[in-house]
């Protein structure tokens, strides 16, 4: 009989029972942990204690430094031109004059290179060869100056190869653009992110042009295609450099709207179908309209719908959400109620306790010696186990999965040998199972 019969609420129940509850970790956890500690210690290079690692560390660093010392002098020479040509190849396949660069650029090669190389997009290879040396030198000189220089230099060079002009000249050049409103043709000027648009340049006559897209990107193509990844309002500018020396500029605006994100969770996580009412918890962002498809032919437009399925099956649940701008996003959960994680398995042998019947109740802790014949399982809701002797006599029957067979029949220990078992039942998602097999009863 119970000595204490105290009624408490849910919170107290869990706190009392679990706050100081203990569980025995697997032995492997400790060894794994100590291995990880050892690895960490190894990386820590503690000189006072772990001498082997210390020496190993000195050895490794010693070898590394010698190797490094030998290689750096060579590397420095070879690395530079490699990286420079790599960048160049993106825009122009003609070989670039490497020699002068190598000699001049020593300290901050990347910086000057990127600038240089973006700027020569529209030029011919012969121009490049002529200009590479002096231009780089110039950029180098400017490096300590205001960074505003960089785009200006770019811009001047991409115009007509006027790299040697002073800043004042460039300003004059820039102000010489005529603003013309209708050089840009665009079929759509707004859409959902990521938005892909093709821009058309309507100007004639035309020699070269430059598009800036307002997100830091630009293009020198005539009719470029551009993708806007982030929502926002973008100012598009098109500069056209005419053959007759007349330059014009045109602007337009593109609106990129945010795309909503469809997110939902299904609860209960391990639902019983068809018994449970399934709740769909909506975590979508940026959305104003929702279209649910529960996979069994029914749909809903509620925010957090609930649904009850008529029979067990694997359903695909999908949610389409729409923003106020009509942008949409879809999340589809395939086999939302799949029961692959549920199983039931039986051992093929057990050793009953010869001291007397235990009643058959077991837990993973109490039955470490395998004294009770019972299944290992997850997600079983209905269960019926029968055990027969070789002669076909029903020895044991149980409808409670927590009740296994202790090897006794009416208080008498049965003979050791082979017994036949048969189980049928249902998993909690409604899926039925039937299994049979044999088990050997051993005796100590």
């Amino acid at each position: 009989m119970k000595t204490k019969k105290q009624n408490i609420n849910l919170r107290q129940l869990f706190r009392n029972k679990l706050e100081n509850a203990e569980a025995i970790p697997d032995v492997s956890v400790k060894s794994k942990l100590m291995r990880r500690v050892a690895r960490k210690e190894f990386l820590r290079f503690n000189p006072s204690r772990l001498n082997i690692y210390y020496i190993a560390g000195i050895l490794v660093t010693g070898i590394a430094t010698t190797v490094l010392l030998f290689s750096t002098s060579k590397d420095y020479e070879t690395l530079l031109p490699e990286s420079s040509t790599a960048i160049l190849n993106k825009t122009d396949t003609t070989k670039f004059a490497e020699v002068p660069v190598k000699q001049i650029v020593r300290k901050e090669p990347e910086k000057s290179f990127v600038i240089h190389n973006e700027s020569i997009k529209s030029k011919t290879s012969s121009q490049q060869r002529d200009t590479a040396g002096p231009e780089v030198r110039k950029v180098n000189n400017l490096q300590n100056a205001n960074p505003i220089y960089h785009p200006v230099i770019n811009y001047a060079i991409s115009g007509k190869g006027v790299f040697s002009k002073s800043v004042d000249d460039k300003k004059k050049l820039q102000s010489g653009f005529n603003t013309e409103p209708n050089l840009i043709e665009l079929f759509e000027s707004s859409g959902c992110a990521p938005l892909k648009l093709r821009f058309y340049n309507k100007s004639t006559p035309y020699d070269s042009c430059r598009w800036t897209f307002g997100d830091g990107g630009f293009s020198n193509e005539r009719d470029p295609e551009w993708i806007f990844d982030v929502e926002g309002e973008y100012k598009i500018a098109l500069q056209v450099f005419g053959r007759d020396g007349r330059n014009s500029i045109s602007t337009t605006t593109v609106n990129v709207y945010p795309r909503p994100q469809a997110h939902f969770e299904i609860t209960p996580e391990k639902a019983v179908i068809p018994n449970d009412e399934i709740h769909f918890l909506n975590y979508s962002t940026n959305a104003v309209q929702f279209r649910w498809d529960f996979g069994d032919g029914s749909t809903s437009e509620f925010f957090d719908p609930s649904h009850t399925y008529a029979k067990y099956s694997n359903y695909n649940v999908s949610l389409v959400v729409f923003s106020d701008r009509g942008c949409s996003d879809t999340l589809k959960v395939v086999n939302a109620f799949s029961g692959s994680e549920y199983f039931i398995d039986f051992p093929n042998a057990f050793i009953p306790n010869t001291q007397g019947p235990s009643g058959g109740y077991y837990s993973s802790k109490s039955d470490e010696a395998a004294q009770v014949f019972h299944p290992s399982y997850t997600g079983v809701t209905e269960y019926h186990l029968k055990i027969f002797s070789k002669l076909g006599i029903l020895i044991f029957e149980s409808s409670d999965i927590n009740l296994g067979w202790d090897g006794y029949l009416k208080g008498q220990l049965c003979e050791s040998g082979v017994y036949i078992w048969k189980v049928r039942g249902k998993f909690i998602n409604g899926e039925p199972f039937i299994k049979m097999g044999d088990v050997t009863m051993l005796k100590n």
């Binding site: 009624n7 509850a21 942990l33 100590m34 969770e265 996580e269």
Partner: protein, 187 residues
């Protein structure tokens, strides 16, 4: 038998032996904590490992005042939260409307009726978000505001998840209770 204080001092010097003693002494208790935050034992053991690494390498942060077990427990809970964030399936960025919890069915429970194994199982089966909030609020005793900060969710989300978690748990316990009493009736 070394005292906790001695072990802490040695662990701060990365003494391997002391670390092992610390593990042997507290791993059972801390696994008990981890189990509440995990969906199975393997996950709990992962959290346990990470917790001990944190404990070994941050033991100098333990101020000496306050209970050492409390500190260990706190590190473990924080590790479980980090683990939860790492494995987060969904971002809770939408405010969920205040959830009116409906207190139905059994409100009070008999303490000795359920074993801790059964309670662990109920927790393990909860959706991860519910489990975090329920543990932090009911067992650890944090406020909803603190939980919201720890998990990076809204205070109302924490509240509503707690009431939903309670409803789910109550439901499960009731089912389990029926099963158990139907057996004891047979006897």
């Amino acid at each position: 038998m070394m005292s906790d204080q001695q072990i802490i001092e040695l662990c701060a010097k990365h003494d391997r032996k002391a670390q092992q003693i610390l593990y042997d002494r507290y791993s059972r208790l801390l696994l008990g904590v981890c189990l509440r935050y995990a969906s199975d034992k393997a996950e709990a053991e992962d959290i346990l490992q990470d917790s001990f690494l944190k404990i070994f390498y941050n033991i100098q942060d333990y101020s000496g005042s306050g209970s050492f077990i409390g500190w260990l427990r706190k590190v473990t809970v924080n590790t479980a939260i980090t683990h939860y964030h790492k494995n987060l399936k969904y971002r809770y960025s939408v405010e969920i409307e205040e959830y009116e919890s409906i207190e139905t069915g059994v409100i009070s429970f008999e303490e000795d009726f359920y074993t801790s194994d059964e309670l662990y199982k109920v927790l393990n089966e909860l959706p991860t978000g519910y489990r975090m909030v329920f543990n932090l609020y009911a067992v650890e005793g944090y406020k909803h505001k603190e939980i919201a900060e720890m998990l990076g969710i809204d205070t109302n989300t924490s509240k509503s998840q707690y009431s939903r978690a309670k409803a789910v748990i109550r439901d499960k316990l009731e089912k389990l209770g029926k099963l158990k009493s139907s057996y004891s009736d047979l006897n």
